[in-house]
Symmetry: C2
Subunit: 297 residues, 2 copies
Amino acid sequence: MAVMAEWIAVDWGTSRLRAWAMKGDEILAEASSDAGMSKLTKTEFEPALLGLIEDWLGHGQTEVVACGMVGARQGWVEAPYAAVPVAPLSAPPIRVPDTDPRLAAYVVPGLKQTRQPDVMRGEETQVAGFLSAHDDWDGVICLPGTHTKWIHISAGEVVSFRTFMTGEIFDLLSGASVLRHSVGEGWDDTSFQSGLDATLSRPESISAELFGLRANDLLNGADPNACRARLSGLLIGAELAAARAYWLGQSIAVVGAEKLSATYAQALKKQGAFVTLVNGQDMTIAGLIAARKAKGT
Amino acid sequence: MAVMAEWIAVDWGTSRLRAWAMKGDEILAEASSDAGMSKLTKTEFEPALLGLIEDWLGHGQTEVVACGMVGARQGWVEAPYAAVPVAPLSAPPIRVPDTDPRLAAYVVPGLKQTRQPDVMRGEETQVAGFLSAHDDWDGVICLPGTHTKWIHISAGEVVSFRTFMTGEIFDLLSGASVLRHSVGEGWDDTSFQSGLDATLSRPESISAELFGLRANDLLNGADPNACRARLSGLLIGAELAAARAYWLGQSIAVVGAEKLSATYAQALKKQGAFVTLVNGQDMTIAGLIAARKAKGT
C-alpha cells in the first residue's frame, strides 16, 4: 500500500540525502540516496528530493523540514547561522522560495561561534532532539563523525562548541597516504588502546607516531587490523587531549553511529568520564520533529 | 656535442627519477622524469633509466650509483637496511643483477632503527654527502619534505632518527580535505608565525585548530594565502614540538629544497636554535660520489 506523508523529515548532508515520511511523531517510511549537497547545484536540489519522496506526496501541499549542509550558501537555500550562546532551534527555519507547489520546504539554520571561529549545520538539530527528551540536561554532547563536534550545553542553550577533523583525517591517512599500504579494514582493541594512551598522555607525539605505523610494518610485518586500530587510537587520543576542557568532570552524551560512538565512549570511560550513548539518527528525527513544532504548523 | 659519462649518479625516489652524467666529481649533464619508483614494476626500472641516460653511454660498461626508494622491496633491487647506530654508507651498495651489459648498476642501502621503528631510503646518502664536507660535525640534520627526517649525528654515525609525515599531511589537508576550499597557493609570514606559535606552545591544539581555518574563512572571509601559511605553521609547529628533543640546544643543518628549508630555518631560529642551510640536491650528489668511492671503482 502506498505511503502518504503528513510531512517529510530530511537530513541533507554533504554526501548523503535521507528522508522520512512522517505522520506526527511517527515514521511511516524512509528513503535515502547519495545526492549529497556537495554534488548538487542550486537547481538540482528540488529534483533530487522529489525523485526520492514523490510517491509520498498527496494532493495538497506537504511540509518538508530539512537540516544539514542543505542550508549552506551553496545549498538549496541559505539558512544563516545563529550565533551561540543560543538555544539550538531558536532561529526559525527558512522557507525555500519558488518550490514545486506540492512542497512547503523549510531548512533549519546552523549555529556559529564568533570568538573562536566555528560552525555547525545539522548537529544543532541532533542537539535539539537530545534536549527534547532531556529537559534539564547540563553537560557536553560529543557527536563523532567526519568532523567531530564537542558541544557544551547549559540551561537549554549551546554555550560553546569545537570541531575536530579527526574522521576526515583518519580517512585521508588510511586511504590516501603512505599508511594505506599498512592499514587494513579490521580492528584490534589492544592496539586502539595503546595508540590512545600514547597521544592522550603525550599529544605532541602524534606527528611522530604516524610514520611509525608504516615503519613498524616494514620492519616487523604489522597486522593491518592492529595498524588501523592504532591509527584510530592515535587520532582520537590527540582529539581527547585537545578537548579535555570539554569533557573533564562533565556528563557526556555521545550521539552518533553505533560503532564509532562506542569507540569514543570506550576511550572516555577509560578516562573516568560518565558517558551516555545515544543513537544519532534517532536524535536527527527527534530534532526535526522539534523544529517543525517550533515553527508552528 | 654529445656528453659521455664516466659514471652516472641517480636519485630515484617515490615520484621522481633524477640522473646526472658525471666525470669524477664533476657534473656534465642532468636529466629527470616522473618515472618514480611507485609507478614502476620490477621490469620497468631499467627501461625507465635507459630512456633517460642512454645518450650518455659509451662503448664500454658505465657505472650507475643510485639511492632512494629504488632500493625498496618493490624497487629495482632490494638493498636491505643497515641498522643504526651506523655510518650512513657503511653497508656496501647492492649490485643490480642481470642488467643491460652497458650498465653496472648499484643501489645504496637505506637505514633502519629497530627500537623506535623507523626507516629511511635516500636521506642516508644526503647525510653522507653533508658529512663528506663536515668531517667532525656533531649535531642534528633536518631534511624537510614529504616525510621530514630528524637525524642525530655523532662521531660520523647516524645515532637515531625520526620521521614526520608533515609534508604529506599538508598536501592531503590542503588538496583533498574540506580545507581545500579555503587554502590558496600563496604565503603570508605573519600567519605562518601565528600558526607555528599556537602548536609549538600547545601542540595538543593541532586537531582543534585545523577546522578553525575553514570556519574562520566561512565566517570572516579569510585570505587564502594566509590560510595556507597558517596551516603550514600549525603542522610544522606540531612537528617541532614533537622533535624538540632533537633540536633543543643542538647545531642544526637543514638540508632540502630552498623554500621549504628556509621555512624550517625561520621557525627554528625563532626558537633560538643555531641553523645552517644546505642545498639538498648538492648533498645527494656529494653522497652518491662518496658512495661510489666507498664501494671502490
